[in-house]
């Protein structure tokens, strides 16, 4: 029985996903069922379980470990999930998405993400990766009538399958190297090799794993799928995958590279330095010329992956904690911003072009103000969460002497401010288009309140969460 302790949060999520599917079976055609409620209950349960497990360092079957690191990611994912559920209620109805499938897939994806963060075996990481990827592929194309959605899903699927193959190949080399896919045994073999140049096998394993992870976090040059997938997917799915997938992939990335592969850091750090710099630069520079907000935020999410990589490159405890904090700060800011874009859409038109936001401050002053808060947070302005996140990340980079990366980081964030502000300019300084603005229902309003509250709380009083992040990295590595 104790073997199951570590996976309780994951099991709860899977069960709530199944409940959503069953509920769908009993749903009359056209009936509106509060299926999101199952998700919310499941997420609350998983969050509660994570809180109870805090500090217990429970392990299951030797391949899943719910240490504080995984539990912190669980909490981030629960926040992502809850916000997604709250926003989805209205959107699923409006877009006529199949609610049972939508919620079940979202919840299964979350279970995969949680498993990915907690897995201590390369094969389990791969399994988790597939669980979440398959769910997300389907979610991307869930608007069956939309050609753009189908294209996006197909593109995402093909490239994703390709990258999964890279990852699996990397796992194979790691197995050949150590005779095991478990992280601790791999780490033991690598550190016992001592000084001297690493074997070709080790280099191949590291290289292929980097490719696999870089694809999932959409780092340059493996980012090609991101703008298309983000633009083609329903906005709420974009919000979900840009935050959730990133959190899970980064968690596994950190766990694999900063623990068993740490002895090889002289080999992979230079590679990641180049990737990080390219990711930050390309994400922002290309973001500047976008006129579609979803695409713009897709490029911005690429840039944010670059910032997160700085924390990984730092390899210090500051860096790891910074990654955790940044993931949370980014999740609430980006979900908030994309959530508003999603809520402003109508059944006929998504209203995701920049000009659709003209004059929003007149017709919807509240939404415009919240959007500004989220965008300023993404741009890294105090007193928002994004500022503390960036400061923390750059702080980690500077601590290790990566001044140049930090300088690229801050300069690209200035450039990114330019395109975030383009939206603000539209909302506040341009006269309105006569777009119909749908009403914001209560659950979505609660979600926005939660997200903006979190953005400001994390920006002004981040100490508690930073303490938590520092606590969660101290138990491993």
């Amino acid at each position: 029985m104790s073997d199951f302790t570590a996976i309780i949060p994951i099991v709860i999520i899977v069960l709530s996903g199944c409940a959503a599917l069953i509920a769908e079976a009993f749903r009359q055609r056209g009936e509106r069922m509060p299926i999101a409620g199952f998700g919310l209950i499941g997420l609350a349960g998983a969050a509660l379980a994570s809180v109870f497990l805090w500090g217990s360092d429970a392990q299951s079957f030797g391949v899943v470990r719910s240490d504080n690191f995984a539990l912190f990611i669980n909490l981030v994912l629960c926040v992502v999930g809850v916000l997604t559920m709250l926003f989805s209620d209205e959107i699923v109805e409006r877009e006529q998405l199949p609610p049972g499938e939508y919620y079940a897939l979202t919840l299964f994806a979350i279970s995969g993400m949680m498993l990915m963060a907690a897995a201590t075996d390369l094969l389990v990481i791969f399994l988790a990766l597939e669980v979440l990827s398959l769910s997300v592929y389907v979610l991307t194309g869930i608007r069956r009538s939309s050609a753009a959605g189908a294209e996006a899903a197909f593109k995402y699927f093909l490239l994703g399958a390709f990258s999964s193959a890279f990852f699996l190949y990397g796992v194979a080399f790691a197995f050949a190297l150590s005779g095991s896919t478990r992280l601790d045994e791999l780490g033991a073999v690598l550190s016992s090799q001592g000084a001297g140049p690493p074997s070709t096998m080790a280099l191949l394993a590291v290289g292929l794993l980097v490719v696999g992870f870089a694809f999932k976090i959409s780092a340059v040059p493996f980012h090609m799928w991101t703008p298309d997938a983000y633009e083609g997917a329903p906005t709420i799915v974009t919000a979900f995958m840009s935050t959730g997938v990133k959190a899970a992939a980064f968690a596994a990335f950190v766990r694999v590279f900063l623990s068993p592969l740490e002895p090889l850091q002289d080999q992979w750090i230079p590679v990641l330095v180049v990737i990080a710099a390219a990711t930050m630069i390309l994400g922002t520079v290309v973001g500047v010329v976008q006129s579609n907000i979803k695409r713009m935020l897709a490029y911005s999410s690429i840039a944010h992956a670059g910032y997160l990589l700085l924390g990984l490159i730092a390899t210090t405890s500051t860096g790891k904690a910074a990654v955790l904090f940044y993931l949370l700060a980014y999740a609430v800011s980006n979900l908030g911003a994309l959530g508003i874009v999603a809520l402003l859409g109508t059944a006929q038109h998504e209203h995701d072009e920049l000009r659709d936001f003209a004059g929003l401050s007149k017709s919807r002053p509240g939404l415009a103000a919240l959007m500004t808060v989220f965008l300023l947070s993404l741009g890294g302005f105090p007193p928002m969460a994004g500022f503390i996140g960036k400061w923390y990340i750059f702080s980690a980079a500077v601590e290790r002497g990566h001044y140049w990366l930090a300088i690229i980081g801050v300069l690209t964030s200035v450039v990114s401010v330019f395109f975030y502000l383009r939206i603000v300019v539209m909302m506040y300084m341009t006269d309105g288009s006569d777009v119909v603005r749908p009403r914001v229902p209560l659950p979505a309003a609660a979600g926005l309140a939660l997200a903006s509250g979190a953005v400001i709380y994390l920006g002004i009083l981040p100490t508690k969460i930073i303490d938590l992040a520092l606590d969660s990295i101290s138990t491993i590595f």
């Binding site: 002053p365 300023l376 302005f381 105090p382 007193p383 500022f387 400061w391 750059f394 702080s395 500077v398 601590e399 001044y403 930090a406 300088i407 801050v410 300069l411 964030s413 200035v414 401010v417 330019f418 502000l421 300019v425 506040y428 300084m429 341009t430 981040p462 100490t463 930073i466 303490d467 520092l470």
Partner: protein
């Protein structure tokens, strides 16, 4: 008069966050949607808050112990102890009057846009007051992290003020303003972080510190010191703005609404010189003194260039904007001299510039409210139609060109005295700026106010309204007060300034004059507290 520093109370925090509270109140009072009938209520709340804040800064001045060089009214709260970040604020002789200036100008700024701003007044009031909190926060922060937060947070309200309530090219100006300023300040952020980690290494505790008082005197390698100084200096130079980083300023000034211009010129530009004085010079004295000649040279170029460009401007606001480039050049020159007269003069000139250029922008705002144009050629002969307005205009103009007896003279004189002891050549060049400023200002004044009325539309121009009297009278009173009794302001500054100069010049080889490296010119300690007689007596 008992002067007890109330170190235990939260007085300073109250002053800093009072405007923010008023801002939120004004926003709530505005109600949902467009409610024109609530406008007077919102305006009055905003004005009352800003006046209350001004009164509070005066109380601060009252209770301030002028004999002490230490920070007073200090407050410390743990914030992020794992990084050595504290909520640490305090006031010394350097920041005291900048707080008073901020308090003084904000109500005037609100009043100056009383009739020209009608588009969402609640948001306007909110942003002006939020901006005041951020500005006050910058001046009181002793923790570098806290300072940076206020510094950056300041950009957002200003961006909205320019972008929503500005003139035709407001969006361009707003975006340029925010990007320029940010580009400089993010590099400073890196330097701040680097400094904190360097402290962690040097102290052996492994915990960084952002406390300015810990970081003063931190030993850095020469290379690191130079880089960090450069990062700080560029951030502040953009804000000042020092030539050649000044190109955002004319756009921002011209496009901003009157309230925005007043605050921008009056307070925001001082952030740059304040930052140089408080952070860049004392944190990196070696690099600062080594680079001071270059900075001073840029300042002098700015003085002359700004003046020459101002001379040919057809637009009143642009003229005043370029005159700011010129005047702020004097401030930077005085700082670079790093002697008591130079630095005190700079500090004094910061206040002067706030009062007189703020005043000029208000007057230009009155003219443009009346005529909806700011072109000099559209005016002419106003003296005959609006004599009181023109009289006020005259006093403010004279204070800007530093007529003895008005505020500008004291600051410029002190700066020139201080700078002369350091570098007669640069001072001589800078002094031409004094003449040039008289040229462009008086010429502008003449074209606007004297001569025959060339434009029929000016014939019906009304004179000062009661609201405008309320703008003009305090400004002029302040200009005269600062011109006649400078000791009142200089005395509380002196201990802090002296300590700061000591901090910068200590451990450095005795400073020689820039032009003559053979003559050693040690810093003479001024024994008497009285300002130099020359500054005291207004010449007839």
């Amino acid at each position: 008069m008992p002067r007890v520093p109330f170190a235990t109370t939260d007085m300073l925090s109250l002053i800093v966050f009072l405007p923010l509270a008023g801002a939120i109140l004004a926003l709530l009072a505005g109600g949902r949607g467009d409610r024109p009938e609530r406008e007077p209520l919102v305006r009055n709340i905003a004005l009352a808050t800003s006046l209350l804040t001004f009164a509070a800064t005066l109380v601060l001045w009252w209770r301030f112990d002028p004999a002490s060089a230490d920070y007073q009214f200090m407050e410390t709260h743990a914030w992020m102890p794992m990084f050595g970040i504290q909520y640490l604020i305090g006031v010394d002789g350097i920041s005291l009057f900048l707080l008073v200036l901020t308090g003084f100008l904000t109500p005037l700024a609100l009043l100056s846009s009383w009739e020209s701003v009608h588009k969402s007044v609640k948001l306007f009031s909110f942003f002006v007051l939020a901006l005041e909190t951020a500005m006050l926060g910058v001046f009181v922060s002793i923790d570098l992290f806290l300072f940076y937060i206020f510094w950056d947070a300041m950009l957002i309200p200003m961006y909205f003020l320019i972008g929503i309530w500005g003139y035709e090219r407001r969006i361009y100006a707003a975006v340029k303003f925010i990007l320029y300023t940010m580009a400089g300040s993010v590099l400073m952020l890196i330097a701040i972080i680097g400094l904190a980690w360097a402290h962690a290494e040097a102290s052996g505790t492994g915990t960084p510190s952002f406390n300015l008082l810990d970081l003063y005197g931190l030993a850095l390698s020469d290379q690191m010191e130079s880089w960090f100084f450069l990062a700080f200096a560029v951030a502040f130079a953009i804000k000042v703005p020092l030539f050649p980083f000044h190109t955002w300023l004319p756009d921002a000034h011209v496009e901003a609404p009157t309230a925005g211009s007043v605050i921008l010129a009056g307070v925001l530009l001082k952030m740059g010189t304040y930052g140089l004085l408080r952070f860049a010079f004392p944190l990196f004295p070696g690099a600062a003194l080594a680079m001071a000649p270059i900075i001073a040279l840029l300042a002098v170029i700015g003085i002359i260039y700004g003046a020459l460009v101002a001379m040919v401007q057809p637009d009143l606001k642009k003229l005043v904007a370029y005159s700011s480039v010129s005047h702020l050049g004097f401030v930077v020159l005085g700082l670079c001299a790093m002697n008591l007269q130079g630095v005190q003069g700079s500090l004094y000139q910061m206040l002067n510039h706030g009062v007189s250029t703020g005043g000029l922008f208000m007057i230009v705002g009155m003219l443009s409210d009346r005529r909806h144009t700011r072109l000099i050629s559209e005016f002419g002969g106003l003296k005959a139609v609006a004599p009181r307005l023109v009289a006020a205009f005259l006093v403010v103009t004279l204070s800007s060109i530093a007529l003895p007896g008005l505020n500008g003279f004291v600051g410029e004189f002190l700066i020139l005295v201080g700078a002369f002891r350091w570098s007669p050549t640069l001072t001589a060049l800078a002094a031409t700026g004094v003449i040039l400023s008289a040229v462009y200002m008086l010429w502008m004044f003449q074209r606007v106010n004297y001569g025959p009325i060339t434009n029929e539309k000016n014939r019906t121009m009304p004179d000062l309204t009661p609201r405008e009297w309320a703008l003009v009278v305090p400004t002029i009173a302040m200009a005269i007060l600062m011109g006649v009794v400078p000791g009142m302001f200089l005395r509380p500054m002196e201990p802090s300034v002296s300590r700061l100069i000591e901090r910068v010049t200590a451990n450095q080889p005795v400073r020689v004059r820039l032009d003559d490296r053979r003559t050693v010119n040690p810093e003479p300690r001024i024994a008497t507290r009285d300002p130099r007689p020359a500054t005291r007596e207004p010449r007839p």
